[in-house]
């Protein structure tokens, strides 16, 4: 759906094929305002940033308006033996055996190079700084967002790499007919009730304004519930459910 399509549909619904009561500039402003509003309220425009801490500073600057998750990327790899029926030996001269028939070795052909796992940081409050068990470790373990900063606990002594899952706002206004909204497609239909509401407000049809705005909030909330609020799978959902009594009786 591009800007041309959006404008055509808006004008159709407002029953105004060409600019009369509503100028093209006004409608364009409302469409862009709708896109921004949807992004701010849903957090649906998501990005992953690669950032790094600074030496002896808790503060990491990020772009966007909301930090949702932070991972500390340990970096590097470790060697994982994949050929479990293979053989281990510590030098060419020495052979380790578990039975007389089996010989173990850690030859390079049998090992896989695996990236060290990233570790998620837990969110804390500003009042918890320095008061949490750090498990005798100095790596980043906790964070909170303060303004445009990510605040890291414990205070890093070296540079650590972070993956930061953020919600951002549209980086470009739509101006040309072929421009498309940056918000995901599943949220783009929310633009329409917002624009209709603003149009009703301009001509002082108050009840229509509130009706359209209520509809906008309702469809936006439904989008948030379906596409932004991601539910973790629980163990019970992996099991076959027990039969209900009615089905048993049948």
């Amino acid at each position: 759906m591009n800007l041309s399509t959006i404008k055509q549909e808006v004008r159709s619904v407002l029953d105004e094929v060409s600019a009369s009561r509503y100028s093209d500039a006004e409608i364009l402003r409302w469409i862009n305002a709708a896109e921004r509003d949807i992004a701010f309220k849903s957090g649906c425009l998501e990005d992953v940033l690669s950032l790094a801490t600074s030496v002896e500073s808790r503060l990491v600057t990020f772009t966007g308006f909301k930090v949702n998750h932070v991972l500390y990327t340990v970096g590097g790899t470790y060697s994982f033996p994949v050929n479990w029926v293979g053989t281990w030996k510590d030098t060419m001269a020495t052979i380790w055996k578990d039975t007389s028939d089996t010989i173990w070795k850690d030859s390079s052909q049998d090992n896989l190079s695996v990236t060290n796992p990233s570790r998620s940081l837990q969110r804390i409050t500003p009042k918890q700084l320095g008061r949490i068990d750090l498990h005798s470790s100095i790596i980043p373990q906790y964070y909170f967002q303060w303004g445009s900063y990510l605040v890291i606990e414990p205070r890093p002594t070296v540079s650590y790499n972070l993956e930061v899952f953020v919600s951002v706002y549209p980086s470009n206004q739509m101006t040309g007919d072929s421009d498309v909204p940056e918000i995901p497609e599943e949220f783009q239909h929310c633009i329409f009730p917002y624009v209709y509401a603003m149009a009703m407000l301009k001509i002082r049809r108050w009840k229509s304004f509130f009706d359209y705005y209520k509809n906008y909030i309702s469809v936006l909330q439904r989008g948030i519930d379906m596409y932004v609020e991601r539910q973790k799978t629980k163990y019970i959902e992996l099991k076959i459910p027990t039969l209900s009594r009615e089905v048993q009786q049948r």
């Binding site: 309220k41 957090g43 700084l129 705005y213």
Partner: protein, 201 residues
Amino acid sequence: MTVYSYTLSSLRTALRDLLNEASADFFTDAVLNSYINSAVRDIAIKARCIQGISSASTETHERYVDFTGYKCVAVEYEKVSLIEIAPLQAAHIVESGKVYPQYFFEWGLQIGIEPIPPGAYPLTLYIVNFPVAMIDDDETPDIPYAFCNLIVPHALSLALSQDNKEDVAMAIMNLYEGEVAYLSRFINAIVPDGDDNLRME
């Protein structure tokens, strides 16, 4: 294509779109500017969204440290957050032999440090700041970008009140209040993760 900029001028244009007044007539630019600045202040107060970090230092034998802003939410000394207390608790909770800053309370535009510092100790303050009024057309609000869309409904409500449309003005203001509360919880509320959040249920 460029990112949209919430300048004083663009905010006034957005307001005039909805007031159906393309150029200054019933609503002068000065009046709309005042409504816009009022909206920015209101959002800053209710959402506590202008979050800043500042450095301060205690003075020898002086309990109080000044700060500027609406509220001091937390104080950090030597990588540890001070515990917030009430003035009533002063001198009743400090362990003997520990003279460095351990507790704080907030009163007016000062924070009180407990125990009273015997020297200069560097502090980091986590502050909620207040905005500066916009004057020039190309100035932008001090509130974060994500809150700027809320300026229009608040300012619009004030303008409609001026136009004797009090019922609609109040209805729009109520709508605005709900949105400020929602956005404040969505973006700013710091709800800590519990250990159970890390496990599969």
